[in-house]
Amino acid sequence: MGKSARELFGGVGPEGHEPRLAGTHGTVRFEVRGAGCWLLRIDDGRYSIHEGSGNADLVVVSDEEDFSEVMEGRHNFITAALQNRLEASGDLGLLMRFQAVLRSRAHDREVASEVES
């Protein structure tokens, strides 16, 4: 198992800027079974993450192990959802944008590690 949900959110939050989310607006609620609930607010590239519940445009529900697999790029949202490992309801466009950012970041990490080695 990879990082816990708490470690993952701690690693990116509580706020920041992601140029790849320019033009994107919306709120995502992550309900990670047994770990808690987090709200991610995206406002034209700026984002903030808070623990807690609230209204959202997109709700993602999963177990912690599946959640970390998706967040760390070992599984993609589409195959995870098709296997019933993850449920997503609401603005699926927002989900695809969020996934693209995760995959771009994974790409950047891979390029950086290639350069180092």
């Binding site: 790849r20 320019a22 033009g23 790029g73 993609n76 949202f77 589409i78 195959t79 959802a81 098709l82 296997q83 019933n84 490992r85 449920e87 997503a88 309801s89 699926l92 466009g93 989900l95 695809m96 944008r97 693209a100 950012v101 995959r103 771009s104 994974a106 790409h107 891979e110």
Partner: protein, 680 residues
């Protein structure tokens, strides 16, 4: 007459025989399909143990059909006192109204049974005859029969219920014992629901469970409105509006609501390709622009969302690359196939840029072009950084996934399509000629967008420089001096693949052909070797691999011809464009106005009618889009600034063509043409 009856709504479709019965086998594509999964493989109605025979089938529209049946099971009609009506409408599964009438003077006792089973096959399994890995189950649950399939946490179910109180369920179907009085009737509704939470589909179907039937009437309204908003075509050639109307309704049927972006994009074709495709969705949207520009907007938005972000060998994904195909079945879910999504198409990325520019030219929707600026820049970066595998300045392909990836990543994507004239296979990586044309066109078009909308003069100048350099080199490196046409491809050893193919027509569409070479290319396209009289063959008669019913090595593809005709017209070959357009439109008439994916390449003067290709998809989106692009070509429709230019070049065998209410940045405009072009 087709032995198969299909009804569909987006990626839900039912394929049955002419009595409405479904008897799918592992290799037979009968069934109820949703999200690339067969939810029902057997649905067989019997009356007192006998399968009914068919009197007639009434295709009400693309999503509903009515079967008129009698208990006689043979093809010979036996006077019967009983008649049956089976009305089926698709949507979240399907809804079926079964009505039985007794025309006798006395009562009749009937045992009516519907046998229902499902193998939950992934479409890939149906196509490739593969075995399942999970467990199929059945159970009766109160007033319904549940058919299910489980593999780990992957669960798909089909729920079957009937409204009649006589319904008795067992694990293999539902039965009714009824007595129908003289001159009386009995009826039941049957509801078949595809139950699973589906990402990337607007239909979270189990919430729609119930005998309401409202779904289809909403669908009917929506479809009527979409068709009514299309421009109207009239002509002295009465078949022309028939072909046009049929294609518009087929495109309405193939619209696919992804649930990810608003609106619909065209799915590629029934039955194998009811999914989001890069190339097919882009080219169909391009063909439909003068008639249905909404398809292009949704296609561009959806493809931008799914654009590649990292290097992933399994999916052939690279940053900036546009998808080839997205599938939602079990084999995709468990990564036994790479379609989540799969990126094995090397032309989708430049074609995405081509469509983006063309959409703006017609619609004036600069806001979308601004919104997709980053996606367009990523696509441009992909062309130079990843598309060109060996740094020779051309985009070539070689799958990163030799096991389940595609060997050929151009539109002719069957394994045996890229061959030398003597039949040898070209080595990998392959740089097919039309992809270089698309790249040239994409860079020129992106330069216009950079200059006029993104306000990046530097980028515009760089792209124009690169495009012109590409054109110069391409006309040297791909030209076969002794033959007078362009090579199909450069292979892995930079050898020119010298077969004569329809791909050279796409080069005219892209504009990459030097003016002095264009007449030679046009002459080849209309020569006896390539032109069958109905259309341009994918490969010329006389090349070793040529086969008039070879998928990409001899058949005629209407969509292929439509882009070739536009290319001919753009280079000033109006007569040749008209001849080709007329041939394809006349062939379409033979297929009841519905051009198939492909038809045989036999010469017209030998067969006198176009010969059906055995397993062609029908309807197929870009085949249905072909007559639309051919109309554009015949009428010479071009957006010039905020006006619609109309410069017809119509054969003199057609007295007149009128297209009313062409939408665009000008509002609505009409086009009128008189046939004045002598073809012989």
């Amino acid at each position: 007459m087709s032995q198969v009856v299909s009804v569909l709504d987006g990626n839900t479709f039912v394929v049955s025989d002419r009595t409405g019965n479904i008897a799918g086998s592992p290799s037979e594509p009968h069934g109820l399909f949703f999200n690339d999964t067969r939810f029902l493989s057997r649905w067989v109605l019997t009356i007192n143990g006998q399968r009914p025979g068919v009197l007639s089938v009434d295709d009400l529209n693309y999503f509903s059909v009515q079967f008129f049946l009698t208990p006689s099971s043979s093809t010979v009609y036996v006077n019967s006192g009983i008649s049956l009506r089976r009305k089926r409408a698709v949507g979240g599964g399907f809804h079926e109204d079964l009505t039985i009438e007794n025309h006798e003077t006395g009562p009749v006792d009937l045992e009516i049974r519907i046998e229902a089973t499902s193998d939950f096959a992934d479409l890939f399994e149906v196509k490739d005859e593969l075995a399942k890995r999970g467990e199929v189950y059945q159970r009766v649950e109160g007033d319904r029969l549940v058919l299910g399939y489980r593999r780990d946490r992957f669960v798909r179910e089909t729920w079957i219920s009937a409204s009649a109180p006589e319904a008795r369920y067992d694990e293999e179907g539902v039965s009714f014992k009824v007595r129908i009085p003289p001159q009386g009737s009995w009826s039941t509704c049957l509801e078949v629901v595809t139950a699973h939470r589906a990402i990337l589909s607007s239909r979270i179907t189990h919430t729609k469970y119930g005998h309401t039937g409202n779904g289809s009437s909403e669908l009917a309204r929506n479809t009527r409105a979409w068709i009514a908003q299309a421009p109207k075509v009239t002509s002295s050639w009465l078949d022309l509006p028939r072909v046009y109307d049929r294609c518009i309704s087929d495109l309405a049927a193939l619209r696919y609501e992804t649930g990810v972006v608003p609106g619909c994009l065209p799915a590629a074709g029934l039955p194998w390709f009811m999914a989001t495709f890069g190339r097919d969705s882009i080219l169909t949207s391009f063909q439909a622009l003068p008639f249905k520009p909404d398809l292009a907007k949704t296609t561009l938005e959806m493809l931008a969302l799914l654009q590649g972000a990292r290097v992933d060998d399994f999916r052939d994904e690279e940053p900036g690359k546009i998808i080839h195909e997205l599938r939602l079945g079990e084999m995709t879910a468990f990564e036994e196939r790479p379609h989540s999504p799969y990126y094995g198409g090397s032309d989708s990325t430049p074609l995405f840029l081509v469509l983006l520019d063309e959409y703006e030219r017609w619609s004036g929707d600069a806001e979308l072009v601004r919104g997709l600026e980053q996606a367009a820049r990523n696509a441009l970066a992909w062309i130079d950084q990843y598309g060109d595998l060996d740094g020779d300045g051309y985009v070539e392909y070689k799958s990163r996934n030799p096991e389940t990836g595609l060997e050929n990543q151009c539109w002719k994507d069957s394994w045996d399509s890229i061959r030398f004239a003597d039949g040898r296979f070209a080595s990998l990586p392959r740089a097919t000629c039309e992809i270089q044309g698309y790249v040239y066109d994409a860079k020129r078009r992106a330069a216009r967008l950079a200059r006029e909308i993104w306000e990046d003069q530097e980028l515009a100048e760089r792209l124009e420089r690169e495009a012109s350099e590409l054109k110069r080199r391409f006309n040297q490196d791909f030209w076969l001096q002794d033959r007078g046409y362009f090579a199909l491809a450069l292979d892995g050893d930079k050898q020119k693949v010298d077969s004569l193919t329809s791909n050279i027509g796409h080069l005219l569409w892209s504009g990459i052909v030097d003016a002095d070479k264009a007449p030679l290319v046009a002459r080849h396209l209309l020569s006896d070797r390539l032109f069958s009289g109905w259309g341009v063959r994918t490969m010329a008669e006389g090349d070793t691999a040529y086969n008039p019913i070879g998928y990409h090595v001899g058949t005629v593809w209407p969509h292929d011809c439509s882009f070739i005709a536009l290319g001919l017209r753009q280079y000033g070959f109006a007569r040749e464009a008209a001849r080709l357009s007329l041939g394809v439109l006349q062939a379409s008439v033979y297929f009841d106005g519905r051009p198939p994916e492909a038809f045989g390449g036999y010469p017209r003067d030998v067969t006198h009618f176009p010969v059906e290709y055995p397993t062609a998809c029908s309807p197929q989106a870009w085949a249905s889009g072909a007559p639309l692009l051919l109309l554009r070509t015949l009428l010479g429709l071009e957006p010039i600034g905020d006006r619609l230019l109309v410069v017809p070049a119509v054969p003199d065998t057609i007295e007149r063509i009128e297209v009313i209410d062409i939408p665009g940045r000008w509002g609505k405009a009409d086009a009128f043409a008189r046939g004045q072009l002598a073809l012989d």
